[in-house]
Structures are given as C-alpha cells and as structure tokens.
C-alpha cells in the first residue's frame, strides 16, 4: 500500500511540474520519425517533436483529467448513493432507477455521441466522464448505506431521536470511507482509460495532447508503417502502468477492509 501511494504521488508530482521538467529537454525540431538517440532519448514523432517531452506534457493532461473526473463523479455517486440508500420515498426511488439504468448503458459510445457535439476541450471531457461514470459508485455506496441503516448503532441513534443529517454525517459517512476510497481509486483508472479511448478516437483537444491522443496521432500518421515503435510504445505503457497502480491500490484497500471486517465480526 505504501508503495502504491509513493508511486502515485510521484506521478502527481511529475504531472504538476511537467512543464518545468519538460523545459529541461531542449526544444528543437528533429528529423521526422528519427529513432531514439542521445539528442532525442525516445526519438521523434510525426512532426519531428521529441517524444519524451511530449510524453511528460501529455502526462499532465492524462493525470489531471482522470483525477478530476474521478473526484467529480465519485462525489456525485456518493451523494446519490447516500440519498437513495438512507431515505425512502419517490425521489429516492427515482435516483435508484437512474443508477440502475445508467449502469447498463455502455459509457464509451454514450460519451462518444456527446463529445461529438461539444467543442473538444479538457473541461468538456472531464464533465462528460464525470457525468457518466458515477453509477457504480452510487450502487456500492447505496448497498453499504442500506446495510448500515439496519445496524444496531444507527437504529438506536434513530430511537434517540437524532436527526437524519446527524446520523449521516456522524454514523454513516465515516463507515463509508474505505469503500469510497476503493471505488474512487478504481474510478481514476476507469476515467484514465475512458479519456484515452476518447482521445484515441480523436475526440479530444489536439492542442492538449494526452497519452491517448499520442496513440491517435501515431496510428493516424503512420508510425507503424514508418517502423517508429518509439511513438506508440511509451504512451501505452504509461496508461497501463498508471491505471494498474490505481486498480491495485483499490484492491488493496478492499482487502484490508474485508480483513478488518472479518476480524470484527
């Protein structure tokens, strides 16, 4: 777990200072598709830009889009989950059905259809990803809230006449922490993969290339035919590495939670 967190924070650190770090690499145009050499450590791409420099700058886009959309969607999912789990009534039923329905509708084609109409900007991509990826979070939170609501401590708090707000903030939310973090970590990986899929299709802002967009340009501008493996291997590895760290972290949190849960009961 410590290892995961250290790696994640170094990723975020790199992403924050991406511009500064990338400035260390001298900006000079090389030959188109020139192989890795001492002047261009990872070679150059279809317009002669340094791939390493591009990779570092693209990291900023990828990392921030995935983290911000995960923050937005998990907050949305948390609120909807708590609401539909704790309260009974028409609005609660409504949120429950919306969650169920959007769990089934495939996210990728839906976001493709939407982003087709929107101007390709980072803001719009974040918005789209977060609007459509909250349902799994809402379902998990709702299930846990339902379970908590039937527990002895919540029932006795209700008997003591505590207000719903008090019970939710004091008794429900603290017990959701682990489940929330596990899902949140998963959502970051998920948003990253969704974002790279959209950019791979060429639906993102071409001025703010992410790792997925690098793959898009590599495929479209013939990196394969020009034997330029350095153009598409690094971004793919970065996506895989970054996503897997968050999936592993999520599973680790879940495992610890289960262990604690079993030893308590």
């Amino acid at each position: 777990m410590k290892v995961h967190i250290v790696i994640i924070f170094s990723f975020i650190f790199l992403a924050i200072f991406a511009e500064t770090i990338a400035d260390f690499i001298p900006h000079k145009k090389g030959e188109v598709f020139s192989p890795p050499s001492s002047s261009h450590l990872l070679g150059t791409n279809d317009v002669g830009d340094d791939v390493l420099k591009e990779l570092i700058i693209a990291m900023r886009v990828s990392v921030f889009v995935s983290i911000f959309s995960a923050i937005l969607s998990s907050t949305l999912g948390l609120f909807i989950g708590i609401f539909s789990g704790y309260f009974r009534g028409l609005i609660s039923r409504f949120f429950e059905s919306v969650t169920e329905i959007f769990l089934v509708i495939p996210t990728l084609p839906l976001t493709i259809v939407f982003s087709f109409h929107l101007t390709p900007s980072i803001f719009n991509i974040v918005l789209l990803i977060s609007i459509f990826s909250w349902p799994p979070m809402a379902r998990v939170v709702r299930a846990k809230v339902l379970q908590l609501k039937n527990s002895v401590f919540v029932q006795s708090a209700i008997l003591f006449g505590a207000s719903s707000l008090w019970i939710i903030t004091r008794h429900i939310v603290p017990n959701l922490l682990e489940i929330f973090l596990a899902r949140f970590s998963m959502l970051i990986a998920y948003s990253l993969i969704l974002e790279s899929s959209l950019s791979f299709l060429g639906l993102s802002n071409p001025d703010a290339k992410s790792w997925g967009a690098m793959l898009h340009f590599a495929l479209k501008r013939g990196a394969l035919i020009n034997d330029a493996f350095w153009c598409f291997i690094p971004p793919g590895l970065c996506i895989a590495f970054f996503a897997s760290i968050f999936v592993l972290l999520s599973l680790e949190i879940e495992k610890r939670y289960l262990e604690r849960f079993q030893s308590e009961n």
């Binding site: 509708i105 084609p109 087709f116 109409h117 895989a240 590495f241 999936v247």
Partner: protein, 309 residues
C-alpha cells in the same frame, strides 16, 4: 405470484432503460449546441438540398416537439434511422452490414475468452496465486487497442505473418481476423480471471467446500462440483455483461486493424462528421448491451434456484 412480480419489475427495468436510450438519441442532437439540422443529419447534409427537404418532412422538423418525438418513434420501429450522406445509403443498411462483421469477431472471442478465463480463475483460486493476480491486473490495465497496435507492429509489420490491410477475399479475411481476435480474447481472458476469481474465492469459503475437502474428494471433483457449479450463475451473469463490454470495447481494436466493423464505422463517422451513423451505432450497441444484460438475468435465475426464492 411473487415470482411473476419479480419478472415484471425486471421487464420494466429493461423497458425503461431502452426508452431512456431512445429518448437520449432523440434529445441529444436537438439540445446540443450548434445547428440542429447539421446535428441530426451530418455535415454534408446541405450539399443535397433535395434529400434534405425530404428528410425534414420525414422527421417532421417543422412540427412541435411532441409530434417530432412520435414521428421519431414511428421511424425507429420501421427501422428508419435516417440517411447517411457520406455513404449515400440509409443508415440502417450501413450499420447492419458493419454490425454483422463485428458480431463475427466478438461472439467467438467472448465465448473462448470466458471459458479460458474461468479456467484460469479456477487455477488461481486453487493454487492461491497472489502474484498471478497482480500480473492479471497489469495486463488488464493495458488498453486493448494499444495491445492491438503492438501485435500489428510485431506480427504483421516485423514478421509479415498477417496482412496489414488490403483486399477482402476469404483467405485474407480469415487472416485479418486472427490478430483482432487474439487481442480481444486476451482482454476477456484477463477480465474473467479477475472477476471469476472474486466469485470463486467467495464460494471457496463456503462450508460445503470444506466438507468436500474433508471427505477426501479428488481436487478436480471438488473444483468442478463444489466450487464451479454453485458459482455458475454469477459467472454467466458476468459473461453476458462482458459480451456487451466486448462489443463496445472491440470498436477501438477494430480501428487499429482497420477491420470493417462497428468500430471502424465509428472512426469513419467521426472523421466525416456523419452524425446519423454515430447515433445509430450508439443505439445498436446500447441495445445489444441491454439485451445481453436481460439474458444474463434470465439465465442466472433459471439455473440458480437460490435466486428465485
């Protein structure tokens, strides 16, 4: 009685989901920024004045919204999804043709992937492979289309084993299928190994498995009868849902291999800004996924009596 009620609820859920998809399809081009006619019919629409007028009449764009919606529904039921200007053909024809090729690719690869993946999950659960799981997750995090690019580079470009693209006759067609097939299968195997392990590990903790072990049954028998069989319902449910994922996920893999399926069509439609096609693709994929989910629910109820009570 209770059982029937349950089925009605289930039916209602899927009916609602389909209506949401249909309504979204209706609403998106009308609500989104930009010229709704361009949004509806694609960018090339203005080049064809005659067809455009006919389409406007067909979809009743001069009428109030609720009438438009009715017309839209009627058109949908008669499989009229609009006209594609970049293909110069009705959208339903184009999409049906491309979808068939995607199904040829996804159905066998999903089935093979599920069988191998569950087998792998059984192995991991029985042998207790923590490290194997980490490797599985690493592979799972690799975007399938990128894996496809790497395969294409290594096998087609470096070793020349498979064609990069080109004419579609039957031999080359089979040849072109192999790499995308392999890519999707690997992805589904890994997904199943991860998900299947979670399900199987849950069953393994049940007391009847302990009983079976203490009876001194053979390992293969324990795994088959006492671990796999009780887990079958959730596994099948998972499998059908995965088919939906494979169907929408294979889109990106197809692009890499320029395999002329739904994915390639998406790519083309984005490039030519042909919205009717894109919308129809979303509709079809959503429909397939919803139907797969419904089948999953039905099958798991049919084979697991515990879910019915």
């Amino acid at each position: 009685m209770v059982q029937n009620f349950d089925k009605i609820i289930l039916f209602l859920k899927y009916f609602l989901t389909i209506s949401v998809v249909v309504t979204l399809n209706f609403a998106i081009p009308r609500v989104m920024p930009g010229d709704p006619i361009l949004n509806l019919f694609g960018e090339e629409a203005y080049l064809y004045e005659g067809i455009l007028m006919e389409l406007k009449r067909e979809f009743g764009l001069d009428k109030p919204l609720h009438e438009q919606y009715l017309l839209y529904l009627l058109n949908l039921f008669s499989c009229n999804l609009g006209f594609s200007f970049s293909f110069q053909r009705p959208v339903s024809e184009v999409v049906a043709e491309y979808m068939l090729r995607t199904l040829i690719l996804t159905i066998p690869s999903t089935i093979l992937g599920i069988i191998l993946g569950i087998y792998l999950a059984l192995l991991i659960v029985w042998k207790g492979g923590e490290r194997a799981m980490v490797i599985m997750i690493l592979i799972y995090s690799i975007p399938a289309y990128w894996l496809g690019m790497v395969f294409l580079y290594i096998f087609s470009f470096k070793f020349g084993l498979f064609p990069l693209g080109g004419a579609v006759n039957s031999v080359i067609y089979i040849n072109r299928l192999i790499l995308p097939f392999l890519t999707i299968v690997i992805h589904i195997i890994v997904l199943n190994a991860i998900m299947g392990r979670a399900i199987l590990a849950g069953t393994l903790r049940d007391s009847f498995v302990l009983t079976a072990i203490s009876k001194g049954l053979k390992n293969s028998l324990i795994l088959r009868r006492h671990v796999l069989k009780p887990s079958l319902a959730p596994i099948i449910a998972l499998a059908s849902i995965e088919f939906g994922f494979a169907f929408s996920g294979s889109t990106l893999v197809e692009i890499v291999f320029s395999y002329p399926g739904i994915g390639m069509l998406t790519w083309e439609a984005i490039k030519t800004r042909d919205y009717p096609i894109l919308q129809a693709i979303f509709f079809i994929i959503a429909l397939v996924v919803i139907i797969a989910n419904a089948i999953a629910d039905l099958i798991s109820r049919a084979i697991d009596p515990r879910l019915r009570s």
